[in-house]
C-alpha cells in the first residue's frame, strides 16, 4: 500500500518533469555535437558550463548577481503572460529605470541625505519609471488594441537611444571615456554589500519574489489576473474589467524591470553605462523572456528556473574566457531549450 503510493508519486513526478528532461537532454545533446564539431573538448566545456558557478565563493556571488536582475526581468515577462500578453519590453523598462535612477542620483548628489533615504528614493523612481514605461504598451493594448509584441519592442529601441543620449551628453556624461557612460554616483548612494561583492539588491529581488507570489496568490488582483488568463470571456461576464487587468499586469511587470535597472546601476556599476543591461552576450530582458517561457510563467517556478539560468549564464562566461567558446553558442542552446520545452510540454499534455 505504502509502496504503491510512493511509486504513484514517482510516476507523477516523472510525468511532470518528463518534458523538461527530454528538452534539456536534446538541447545539450545538440550543443555537445556542435561543440565537438567545432573542435572543443566537450567534457571540459560541459564541466565548465555547469560547475563554474559552484567553484568558488567569488563564482557563487557572481551567480547571485546575475540572478538578481534576471529573476526580475523574468517576472516582467511572466506577469503579463498570465493573461497571454507578451511583454518583450523588459529591456527597455530596465534601462529606462536605470537611466532615470542615474539622472536622479546625479541630480541629488550634492544634497547629503541619509544613504538609506537616497537609495529608497532612487530605487522607487527606477521602479516607477519602468512601470509607467510598460504602461504605455499596456494602454496601447487596452484602449487601442495594438499588439504588445510590437509596441514593447519599439519602446525598447526608443529607450536605448534615450540611454545613449544621457550617457553621451553633459551634464551627465563622464568626460574622457570612449564608451558612453555617465559620471560616477557618490559612494554613499550605492547599495551596501552583504558580503564580498554581493549587494543588497539580491535581498530586494528575493523580497520581490515573495511580493509577486503574494499578489498573484493572495489578493483580489491576483485572482482577477488568473481568471482572465484562464478564460477571458468568463472573467468578463463575472464583471472583471479586462482593460484594468491588462494595465495592472503591465504596470507590475514594468515595475520589476525598472527596479532591476535601478539595482544594476546602484549595485553593480555605480553609474550609467551603455549596455549595463547586457550579460553573457544578450540583454537581461531577453534572458528573462526565455526563462519565463521555460518556467511556464508559474510564479513558483520562476525563481527556480531563473537560478538555473544564472548558473548557465555564469558558466557561459567562463566557457568564453577559458575555452574560447563563443557565448552565442550557449545563447543558441537556451533558445533551443525554450522551443523544445514548450513543444515537449504541449506534446505530453495531449496524451
Amino acid at each position: 500500500m505504502n509502496n504503491a503510493t510512493s511509486t504513484d508519486k514517482l510516476k507523477q513526478l516523472w510525468l511532470l518533469t518528463r518534458p523538461y528532461v527530454f528538452a534539456l537532454g536534446l538541447a545539450f545533446l545538440f550543443t555537445g555535437i556542435m561543440l565537438g564539431l567545432l573542435g572543443f573538448n566537450v567534457w571540459e566545456a560541459f564541466k565548465a558550463l555547469i560547475t563554474t558557478s559552484f567553484s568558488s565563493k567569488f563564482q557563487i556571488v557572481e551567480t547571485f548577481k546575475k540572478f538578481t536582475p534576471l529573476v526580475l526581468t523574468t517576472f516582467a515577462f511572466a506577469i503579463p503572460f498570465q493573461i497571454k500578453f507578451f511583454n518583450i519590453g523588459s529591456t527597455g523598462q530596465m534601462i529606462m529605470g536605470g537611466t532615470i535612477a542615474t539622472m536622479l542620483g546625479l541630480g541629488m548628489s550634492s544634497f547629503r541625505v541619509p544613504s538609506a533615504l537616497a537609495i529608497i528614493l532612487i530605487l522607487t523612481a527606477a521602479a516607477l519609471t519602468g512601470a509607467f514605461y510598460a504602461l504605455i504598451a499596456g494602454a496601447l493594448k487596452a484602449y487601442h488594441n495594438i499588439n504588445p509584441i510590437i509596441s514593447t519592442i519599439m519602446l525598447n529601441f526608443v529607450a536605448m537611444q534615450f540611454t545613449n543620449f544621457v550617457a553621451t551628453t553633459p551634464p551627465w556624461q563622464a568626460p574622457l571615456t570612449g564608451h558612453p557612460m555617465s559620471k560616477e554616483l557618490p559612494k554613499w548612494m550605492l547599495l551596501p554589500r552583504l558580503f564580498s561583492e554581493l549587494h543588497i539588491g539580491f535581498l530586494i529581488a528575493l523580497g520581490m519574489v515573495a511580493f509577486v507570489y503574494f499578489i498573484m496568490k493572495k489578493t483580489v488582483i491576483g485572482y482577477e489576473i488568473e481568471s482572465v488568463g484562464h478564460n477571458q470571456r468568463a472573467a468578463e461576464i463575472h464583471g472583471i474589467n479586462i482593460k484594468k487587468t491588462t494595465l495592472v499586469t503591465f504596470f507590475l511587470g514594468g515595475l520589476l524591470a525598472g527596479l532591476a535597472g535601478g539595482i544594476e546601476v546602484l549595485g553593480v556599476h555605480g553609474r550609467l553605462v551603455e549596455g549595463f543591461a547586457v550579460t553573457s552576450g544578450a540583454e537581461y530582458g531577453t534572458f528573462g523572456t526565455l526563462t519565463a517561457l521555460i518556467s511556464g510563467a508559474e510564479p513558483l517556478a520562476v525563481p527556480a528556473v531563473a537560478f538555473l539560468m544564472s548558473i548557465l549564464l555564469n558558466g557561459a562566461d567562463s566557457l568564453q574566457r577559458r575555452l574560447m567558446v563563443p557565448v552565442e553558442l550557449v545563447f543558441l542552446t537556451q533558445a533551443l531549450i525554450v522551443i523544445l520545452v514548450v513543444t515537449m510540454r504541449e506534446r505530453f499534455r495531449k496524451r
Binding site: 567545432l38 507578451f86 518583450i88 496601447l140 487601442h144 488594441n145 495594438i146 499588439n147 509584441i149 510590437i150 509596441s151 519592442i153 519599439m154 519602446l155 525598447n156 529601441f157 526608443v158 537611444q161 534615450f162 545613449n164 543620449f165 551628453t169 552576450g281 544578450a282 531577453t286 523572456t289 526565455l290 517561457l293 563563443p326 552565442e328 553558442l329 545563447f331 543558441l332 537556451q334 533558445a335 533551443l336 525554450v338 522551443i339 514548450v342 513543444t343 504541449e346 506534446r347
Partner: protein, 304 residues
C-alpha cells in the same frame, strides 16, 4: 532639386528592406501564420548572405544564401507550429533570439575576429538609358537589381492574391481554414508553402543590408527593422500594395532621419534615431480603426 533627388534615391534604396520583409510576412499571414520572427530571420540571413558573398566573391550566391536561411527559419516556424500547435508567437520570439545568436556565431566561426572587416561584393546597379535622365523618376530606376525585384514582387504578389484562383484559395485558408479544408484545399500544405516562401523574402531583406546598404556585416545589423516589418504588415491590413506604401514611408523616415543626423541640428541625433520606432506606434495608432486581419491569423488549425 539635386538634394531632393538624392534623398529620394536614398529612400528608394531602403525600400526593399521594408517591402520584402513585410511582404514575406503578408504571404504567410494571409494563410494564417503570424510570423513575428522577422528580426531573427533577417539577422541570420544577413550573416549567411554576407559570409557566402564574401567567400565566393559573388553577390548573387550571397542573396541566395540569405533566401535559403530565411526559408529555413520560416519552415522551422511552420513545422513546429503545425506539428505541435504551440503558439506561433512563442516560436517566433524564440526564433528571434535563436537568429540573433546564430548570426554572430556563424560570423565568428567562419571569419573569426578581424581587425578590418572586408567588404562583400555589392549588388550591381542597373541604369535604364534615357529614363534615368528624368529627375525624380530617375531616383526610382537608377537602382540596384534587388529594387527592381522588389517592384516585380509587389505586383506579382498582388496579382497572385487577388486575381488568381490559388491566391483566392490562399486567402480562404487565412480567413476560414475549416471551410477551405471542406472544399478540398490543403490547409497545412498552404501554410507550409507560404510561410517558407515568406521566410525566403525576409531572408533577402536581411541579406540586402550587408550586400547593399552597409557592405559589411555588423552584430545587430537589422536594428529593429524586422519588427518594424511586422508593424507595417499590420497597419497595411496584410495587403501587398499597402505594404509597399508603408515600406516607402518607413524608408523615407529612415532616409530623412539620416540626413538630419548628418546635417548637425541642435536636436541630439539620438532623437532622430528614435523616429522609426515612434513612427510605427503612431501609424498603428492612426490606422487602428481601419486595420483588418485575416480571421484565422495566429490561430492553430486542426481538423478535430
Amino acid at each position: 532639386m539635386n538634394v531632393v533627388n538624392e534623398l529620394l534615391k536614398q529612400m528608394v534604396a531602403y525600400t526593399p528592406i521594408y517591402t520584402l520583409s513585410s511582404l514575406g510576412l503578408v504571404i504567410g499571414g494571409r494563410a494564417g501564420i503570424f510570423n513575428v520572427s522577422g528580426e531573427g530571420t533577417m539577422l541570420a540571413a544577413a550573416s549567411a548572405g554576407y559570409i557566402v558573398a564574401l567567400q565566393t566573391g559573388n553577390w548573387l550566391l550571397g542573396i541566395l544564401a540569405s533566401a535559403a536561411m530565411g526559408a529555413a527559419f520560416g519552415f522551422t516556424l511552420v513545422f513546429i507550429h503545425e506539428t505541435t500547435k504551440v503558439s506561433q508567437f512563442i516560436i517566433g520570439i524564440s526564433l528571434v533570439i535563436l537568429g540573433a545568436g546564430l548570426s554572430d556565431l556563424l560570423y565568428k566561426l567562419v571569419l573569426g575576429v578581424q581587425l578590418f572587416i572586408p567588404e562583400a561584393p555589392k549588388v550591381p546597379e542597373v541604369r535604364i538609358p534615357l529614363l534615368s535622365r528624368i529627375p525624380f523618376l530617375s531616383a526610382f530606376i537608377n537602382q540596384n537589381v534587388i529594387v527592381y525585384l522588389t517592384y516585380a514582387l509587389v505586383i506579382l504578389v498582388y496579382y497572385f492574391l487577388y486575381k488568381t484562383k490559388p491566391g483566392l484559395e490562399l486567402r480562404a485558408v487565412g480567413e476560414n481554414p475549416k471551410a477551405a479544408d471542406v472544399v478540398g484545399i490543403n490547409v497545412t500544405l498552404t501554410r507550409y508553402l507560404t510561410t517558407t516562401l515568406g521566410g525566403a523574402l525576409l531572408g533577402i531583406a536581411g541579406g540586402y543590408l550587408p550586400l547593399v546598404v552597409t557592405g559589411t556585416y555588423t552584430p545587430n545589423i537589422t536594428n529593429g527593422r524586422g519588427f518594424i516589418a511586422v508593424g507595417i504588415a499590420i497597419f497595411a491590413s496584410w495587403r501587398p500594395e499597402r505594404t509597399f506604401l508603408g515600406a516607402l514611408l518607413f524608408a523615407a523616415i529612415e532616409a530623412i532621419a539620416l540626413q538630419m543626423q548628418l546635417s548637425g541640428t541642435v536636436i541630439p541625433y539620438q532623437f532622430f534615431l528614435m523616429t522609426p520606432f515612434i513612427g510605427i506606434l503612431v501609424v498603428m495608432w492612426l490606422f487602428k480603426k481601419k486595420v483588418e486581419f485575416p480571421a484565422s491569423l495566429g490561430k492553430p488549425y486542426s481538423r478535430e
